[in-house]
């Protein structure tokens, strides 16, 4: 098992190096540079700026010096925000994005899980169709539509929640979390419905019912464990997706998370910031996928035995 994890980590390293290299050279191929602006910049000024950020050196030089800094955990200074390092910007944005992603995931699991389970218990009745319709809508409606709609309804008309901010006014975390979580809730509900339906038709459920157990116990003690298995495999990549995909929600609700920095960095050709966030997020995605694999292996006896053979 340990060997499996170690091997997977070593397999991930070249992936991350490839990400770094591809990103490093790709962003430099994009037209325009970090110091172009609408008002013409004097050539002397531009040269001075490029010298301050070592952009005047040959590109391979820059690449290796970047890798060397990276080895020490230094993502370099941000071009767009002079006086801020990329490490600092990530440190400022990441906890917020992680918190937002966490709440969104909780929302997705509770709402999606419940509605999926309910739907599976009453297949092809209105109690199935209604939540599944909502799930379909949830998957289809983009967050840039859902966010402003929730904001209008609950923020402006009903005045229940603030329309922007994060941790400034009580309740301001509710709408962004729901907006971000909605699409995932929809996936979760479909996954858990499918998983439950499959399990509920198994012999051991019939046996449990035949034993005279209450329906409540059949569901909670027997069906849920197997029925929610597909969900576990989904959660790792989903959390990674929530972390890297929250920029729309962050922009709509003015949440000071990492996603906003990420997108702005691309628009601004803030090379170090693009690289820093890309490396950081891709590392996270690799880690979450690994964790999800390990968890799934641990929960699934068949996979587990394969891994032991591997050992």
């Amino acid at each position: 098992m340990i060997r499996f994890v170690v091997v997977r980590i070593f397999q991930a390293l070249p992936v991350i190096l490839a990400v770094i290299t591809a990103t490093f050279f790709l962003i430099r191929m994009a037209p325009g540079g970090p110091f172009d602006s609408e008002k013409a910049v004097m050539p002397e000024v531009k040269a001075a700026l490029e010298a301050q950020y070592k952009l005047d050196r040959p590109i391979l030089d820059q690449y290796f010096s970047y890798l060397a800094d990276l080895g020490e955990g230094d993502f370099g200074p941000s071009f767009k925000y002079p006086g801020r390092s990329v490490n600092e910007l990530i440190a400022a944005g990441m906890p917020v994005t992680a918190e937002l992603g966490f709440y969104a995931l909780i929302f997705a699991v509770i709402v999606g899980g419940l509605s999926g389970v309910i739907a599976s218990l009453h297949p092809n009745t209105w109690r199935d169709h209604l939540p599944m319709t909502f799930a379909m809508i949830g998957i289809c409606v983009p967050s840039f539509l859902l966010g402003p709609s929730l904001m209008l309804l609950f923020g402006v008309h009903l005045d229940w929640f603030p329309v922007s901010g994060w941790g400034d006014i009580p309740g301001d975390k509710v709408l962004p979390s729901i907006t971000l979580g909605a699409a995932y809730a929809a996936y979760v509900s479909r996954l858990s419905r499918a998983g439950m339906l499959e399990v509920l038709s198994q012999d051991y459920i019939r046996t449990a019912r035949a034993k005279g157990l209450s329906e409540w116990r059949v569901i909670t003690q027997h069906a849920l464990r197997g029925g929610l298995m597909p969900l576990v495999a989904f959660l790792g990549p989903a959390f990674a997706g929530l972390l890297s995909g929250s920029f729309v929600v962050e922009t709509i609700f003015q949440v000071p998370g990492l996603g906003r920095f990420y997108v702005q960095a691309a628009f601004n050709r803030d090379y170090t910031m693009i690289l820093g966030t890309t490396i950081f997020l891709s590392t996270l995605i690799v880690i979450f996928n690994l964790m999800s694999d390990v968890l799934a292996a641990w929960m699934n006896p068949r996979l587990r035995s394969e891994l032991f053979n591997y050992d």
């Binding site: 994009a30 037209p31 325009g32 540079g33 172009d36 602006s37 008002k39 013409a40 910049v41 004097m42 002397e44 000024v45 531009k46 040269a47 001075a48 301050q52 767009k80 925000y81 002079p82 006086g83 801020r84 910007l89 400022a92 944005g93 509770i110 709402v111 419940l114 309910i118 218990l121 402003p148 904001m151 209008l152 923020g155 402006v156 229940w160 929640f161 603030p162 329309v163 922007s164 901010g165 994060w166 400034d168 006014i169 009580p170 309740g171 975390k173 509710v174 329906e215 569901i219 922009t251 709509i252 609700f253 003015q254 000071p256 998370g257 906003r260 920095f261 628009f267 601004n268 050709r269």
Partner: protein, 547 residues
């Protein structure tokens, strides 16, 4: 069924948890702000920084000017200069030497007096090529400043700024520059506190921590107490500011309101006193309101199209004129722009400190058809096709579509539209890889020179291929030698007439500033620069009056 019934408590539990989390939003920012004298200010975006010699944007400007003050400041009502750090100044007879007398009460926020030598040190920093200050050209009217900034001379002693004593600063200019005093309210000419900068690094480092809330030392009406990245910047009234008795606010909270739709909603629910902008589709609604918070005013900026005069068919002046004549700017501004802009027929906005530009043409489809026929494209025959490029934005697209329509119906010519991502667009304009490109220019200072010197042959922002020695001479030489404002404006008028006849650009509209301002905010007049001086702003506690 049993299952469902048993689940009901869980549903209601979950629902009530959400409700409890929502609590009561309670007293909004605006109400508490009115009580406490704190202005809640939508500032557009997160400032890139707060170092006056590094930053370049409008949101930065608002905060920097709260924390720092120039030698002279602009009165927000008249835009005329009034004393800042300098309590008075005198001009030499030839108007080339200005002597500034610093206010003895002017203090840095750590208590140090603001001294003439601080200005010499700061201007050296602002002009140092290593600093990479994009606005260093603001100081170029000063003798030898440009040579120093371009590395042609390295001895700062030769630059025309001297501290005669701790309270007297002497500035020598290349030429008499009528707008020079105005520039002293621009952050690139501000003094910074030398010991603070030195404490955190080299004087020309862009990358130090001296501007953090816990480190920064300024000399403005406010001092920063908190800077939470992408959340807010909080400033409070400075206890050391020389004119503190006139400061009407106890503090300001600046919010990075990037999304104008969200910003408008924040305003609606009482989280903001002031918005950086207003979404275009909301403007008609606000305009029809009684006691509307919507405030619109002329703004010193022109929206125009650059024409590439090096390329066929736009190398023919008749084609350029025909294109301009067939745009109905009244229709454009009243429909597409919903009355939020004024038609423009020149590059300089009208009434730029008393200057009125020539109006040589209007909407004239018949003349346009004649001209395009003369140029060899009667009724659009043989037309090679051209492209308009603009940076990706719904607003630019709508305007381009309308103009495309007008050209098609009047001249029967085909024009394609191409949107480009911002930096790609900047690159295309810089390389002149376009037929027609959208452009906007917002004045740095109120003077026709700031618009007209865009089109001198070597101008970095020219980007049209327009080069005319007579024009260059008028702008660079003759206008600087003019005896008085009137003859100077006559020279500008001549130059602008030449420019509009050659038509390397098509002016489209003059900008307006648009804000939502809560009725409790006072002392914040509209002006051409959309320039606010937070020192003069105060809040009326309306609830108190109601009680």
């Amino acid at each position: 069924m049993i299952f469902f019934r048993q689940k009901i408590p869980i549903f209601s539990l979950a629902f009530s948890v959400i409700l409890i989390a929502s609590c009561d939003v309670g007293e909004g920012n605006v109400d508490s702000g009115n009580r406490l004298g704190i202005l809640h200010y939508g500032n557009g975006s997160e400032p890139q920084g707060l170092d006056p010699h590094v930053v370049t944007g409008v949101p930065e400007n608002h905060i920097v000017r709260a924390l720092f003050e120039g030698l002279a400041v602009k009165n927000p009502y008249t835009l005329e200069p009034e004393p800042g750090v300098a309590e008075r100044w005198i001009f030499s007879d030839d108007k080339r030497v200005i002597t500034f007398f610093l206010n003895p009460n002017a203090r840095w926020s750590n208590g140090d007096p603001v001294q003439a030598s601080d200005y010499v040190w700061s201007w050296q920093r602002a002009l140092d090529p290593a600093m990479g200050n994009q606005y260093s050209y603001m100081l170029f009217p000063v003798k030898n400043a440009e040579s120093f900034a371009k590395g042609k001379i390295s001895d700062f002693e030769k630059v025309g700024v001297k501290a005669l004593d701790q309270r007297t600063l002497e500035v020598t200019l290349n030429e008499p520059t009528p707008y020079f005093i105005q520039l002293l309210d621009h952050y690139s000419t501000f003094a910074v506190h030398p010991p603070t900068i030195k404490k955190f690094g080299m004087s020309t480092d862009r990358y130090t921590k001296w501007t953090r809330a816990e480190n920064i030392v300024g000399n403005g009406p406010f001092v920063m107490t908190e800077w939470k990245l992408n959340r807010r910047i909080v400033v409070k009234k400075s206890p050391t500011y020389w004119d503190r008795d006139k400061v009407g606010l106890n503090g300001v909270v600046f919010y990075p309101t990037e999304n104008s739709v969200t910003e408008e909603r924040m305003f609606r629910v009482g989280q903001l006193h002031y918005t950086a902008g207003v979404p275009l589709d909301k403007i008609p609604i606000y305009r029809d309101m009684e006691n509307t918070p919507y405030v619109q005013a002329p703004y010193l900026g022109t929206y125009y199209y650059l024409l590439n005069t090096n390329k066929k068919p736009l190398n023919d002046v008749r084609v350029r004129q025909a294109l301009s004549l067939s745009i109905d700017r009244d229709i454009l501004t009243s429909t597409v722009l919903q009355g939020t802009a004024f038609p423009a027929y020149s590059i300089t906005p009208p009434d730029t400190l008393g200057y009125y530009p020539p109006r040589l043409f209007g909407y004239d489809p018949d003349k346009a058809k004649e001209l395009i026929a003369e140029a060899g494209y009667p009724d659009g025959k043989n037309w090679p096709g051209i492209e308009i490029i603009y940076n990706t934005s719904e607003a630019h697209r709508k305007i381009a579509v309308a103009i495309q329509q007008m050209w098609s119906s009047v001249l029967n010519i085909q024009v394609t539209l191409s949107n480009q991502e911002w930096k790609v667009y900047l690159d295309s304009v810089d390389q002149m890889e376009f037929d027609i490109a959208r452009r906007g220019w917002i004045g740095d200072y109120v003077d026709p020179n700031n618009f007209l010197d865009l089109f001198i042959s070597e101008g970095g922002n020219n980007s049209t291929g327009y080069a005319n020695a007579v024009y260059d001479d008028l702008i660079l030489k003759k206008s600087t030698k003019a005896a008085d404002r009137e003859s100077r404006y006559q020279i500008f008028y001549r130059a602008e007439t030449m420019l509009m006849q050659a038509m390397p650009i098509i002016p489209i509209y003059t900008y307006t500033s648009k804000h939502l301002i809560h009725r409790s905010v006072k002392g914040l007049p509209s002006n051409l620069m959309d320039s606010l001086n937070l020192k003069y702003v105060w809040l009326e506690d309306l609830e108190k009056e109601d009680r």
